[in-house]
């Protein structure tokens, strides 16, 4: 895995060597904790410094940041910061222990801006705050134009959130979204529960990416238990994941075109989404693919008759989607879309956005390629990307990914391996942890799981793609016309349920 590439070190080795050389006095402990994960323990006051170097100098991308409450057992809090060390399938984890009575640490967000939202969550949910440089919400300077606040209830099936827009009446100056209204406390609810119950909760984090969450949770449990998933199950997981991506992208395109007022094409995409939901129900027994993925494998098989039927259905879908996408070329719409809501690559990197929004801004990030899981190592696919970072780029990207997903499903129908559907998941060992990384339709979902001495869930932490999409949308909306705001929002299609949990 690790090694040299043309005389140049891979990011993980570079980071480990850098930490050894520059932060020798800060390192308390360092070890390899799983096949792909290295863990370095540093004191709380040095965490930000080391994390900043990993992210800004050695090519790490923040996967997640969270706090664990160990006051009862060890009288301390623990902070974990996980970094993806792409292009290698490697994860670097920085760990800090903070005393339970005075949990203060140097603020991470000043060095790693992508940690901002996650740091806020740690502060709000665990009561662990950095010593300085905290970032209160709604800290807009007063008197900067017209401000309008809407929410928490939104019209038109939109999710509950509070949005504050400051503008000069025509152009948006700043946009902030306050989340947390829909927080259901699912991670806390899973504490002490069985893995089966945890999986049921993971599937209910979000309706549109239920399978991606289930898969990330299962991967974390499997890494923890040391279980290898059989090939047919891995293939069916990729299969279901691509169907979910199809449904989500089709729904997002429909929502976007509805926001743009292109009714005929929006209706066509809404119909195509229903075709995929219908396929989901037919093949896997659930329109939103809940109950398909289980720890160790999958629960449903796809027979030959269904495969044959599916090829016909998806063939029609490919042609229909291509035709409906031509609505974007209509002159008036194309003019409105070009340059609307531009997310610069530097900003995208700063807020740590992944998935569609990152790839549309020219960042070649794809969890399926960077951290191959399920069947993706054996499949042939392109990472679709665009450079402009505007609303049109994000919409075109989804169109391209629909075709890639259809190609992937075709490949899997041709090459579906035989064998069992699941491997028994034994006892979960205590005092270790597992990480699951999945590219959902919107971006990276990261699930982190730790078991207690009885084999029940002790701690479960979720970082979903939407954590970064909301701030990315806020930054991209700056400078957009007020009337284009629904359009820009629909091009990002951020999700409240994923971020609030």
């Amino acid at each position: 895995m690790s090694g040299e590439r043309g005389g140049e070190l891979f990011p993980l080795d570079r980071a480990l060597r850098g930490i050894r050389e520059r932060f020798a006095d800060a390192v308390i402990d360092a070890e390899r904790t799983s096949l792909r994960e290295h863990t370095v323990v540093v004191p709380g006051e040095r965490l930000a410094e080391v994390a900043g170097a990993v992210a800004n100098e050695w090519g790490g991308a923040l996967l997640t940041f969270f706090a664990l409450d160990e006051r009862d057992s060890h009288g301390r809090f623990r902070l974990h910061a996980l970094f993806s060390m792409a292009p290698e399938d490697a994860v670097l984890t920085l760990v800090s222990a903070l005393p339970g009575h005075a949990p203060a640490y140097a603020p991470l967000a000043t060095r790693v801006p992508a940690a901002r939202e996650l740091e806020r969550e740690v502060r709000e949910r665990m009561g662990v705050s950095p010593v300085a440089g905290s970032d209160p919400r709604f800290a807009l300077a007063p008197g900067r134009g017209l401000t309008s606040v809407s929410g928490p209830l939104q019209a038109g099936f939109a999710e509950s959130r509070l949005e504050r827009v400051a503008s000069d009446g025509v152009i948006v100056r700043t946009l902030e979204t306050q989340l947390g209204w829909a927080a259901r406390g699912l991670e806390a609810l899973a504490t002490g529960a069985s893995v089966t119950r945890g999986l049921a909760l993971a599937e209910r984090l979000c309706g549109t990416c239920a399978f991606a969450h289930a898969l990330a949770f299962c991967q974390a449990a499997e890494e923890l238990a040391g279980v290898v998933v059989p090939p047919r199950a891995r293939a069916l997981r990729s299969f279901a994941a691509e169907l979910e991506r199809l449904a989500s992208h089709l729904a997002d395109l429909g929502g976007f075109l509805a926001a743009a007022g292109v009714a005929a094409a929006a209706a066509e995409f809404a119909r195509l989404e229903q075709v995929v939901r219908r396929v989901n129900g037919q093949l896997f027994g659930h329109r939103f693919l809940r109950g398909v993925c289980v720890p160790g494998g999958v629960q449903r098989d796809v027979g030959d008759a269904h495969q044959l039927w599916l090829r016909g259905v998806l063939g029609d879908l490919r042609a229909d989607a291509r035709r409906a996408l031509r609505a974007l070329d209509a002159g008036s719409l194309a003019g409105r879309l070009a340059g609307a809501g531009v997310l610069e690559a530097a900003v995208a990197r700063e807020v740590g956005v992944t998935g569609v929004a990152a790839r549309a801004s020219g960042l070649l990030l794809d969890g399926r390629r960077d951290h191959p899981y399920a069947f993706y190592r054996d499949l042939d696919f392109q990472v679709v990307h665009r450079e402009r970072g505007d609303a049109r780029a994000r919409i075109e990207l989804r169109g391209g990914e629909i075709h890639e997903s259809l190609n992937l499903v075709d490949q899997m129908i041709l090459r579906l391996p035989g064998g069992p559907l699941a491997q028994h998941l034994g006892e979960l060992p205590p005092s270790r942890w597992g990480v699951g990384v999945v590219e959902s339709p919107r971006g990276l979902h990261v699930h982190w799981l730790r078991a207690d001495a009885r084999g029940a869930i002790a701690d479960w932490r979720v970082r979903s793609a939407s954590h970064a999409i909301w701030p990315a949308f806020g930054r991209a909306a700056e400078g957009a016309a007020l009337t284009d705001l629904p359009l820009v929002r629909a091009s990002f299609a951020p999700c409240v349920a994923c971020a609030d949990r």
């Binding site: 309706g207 037919q282 027994g285 609505a327 209509a330």
Partner: protein
Amino acid sequence: MNWEALRCALLRGTPAGRDPAPLTGGLEPAAADVPGEIELLGEALRAELRRRPRGVLRLAHVDAGSCNGCESELRALLGPFHDVQRFGVGFVPSPRQADALLVTGPVTIALEAALRAAEQAMPQPGLLVAVGDCACDGGFCAGSPAVRRGGGAVRPADVLVPGCPPSPGQILRALLAAMGRERVLEGATASPPGARR
């Protein structure tokens, strides 16, 4: 081109309610997709609505901490495949215009006041419809200190639509039950999912 999409949709001739992906021989339809269900339920609903003063049912929706699954199915009801507007069911943006308020999600503590305000803004008598397991009794979220136990936190719901999420057909069935038809389709419904209190 916009016209192109419209022309193709018209030429394809997929009427609303007809199966978007017909099954080939040897395949049994999944339990969630009863062929022709939407048409039957919709016509029955239209007949019920005709007896009402305005002949229509206007629904407003409140997300009280939902996972998006129920919203997705509600949106599907409006989409070209189910298209419930042809039966006299419409969605309005504000509870002030609504005959019924659809609640999704387990009602988080943060949103409880907002839901209560929306419920009081609805002209009385208005129906409170709990859509999905979460809204019925908390569902999978029950037991979390961050949530109440469904739409009943505000006032007892008039209609419960269980399911995670309920299919468009189940939602229609529950609306029909709310309009006063207890048994919707003889034989077709083993257990009516919507029950009027």
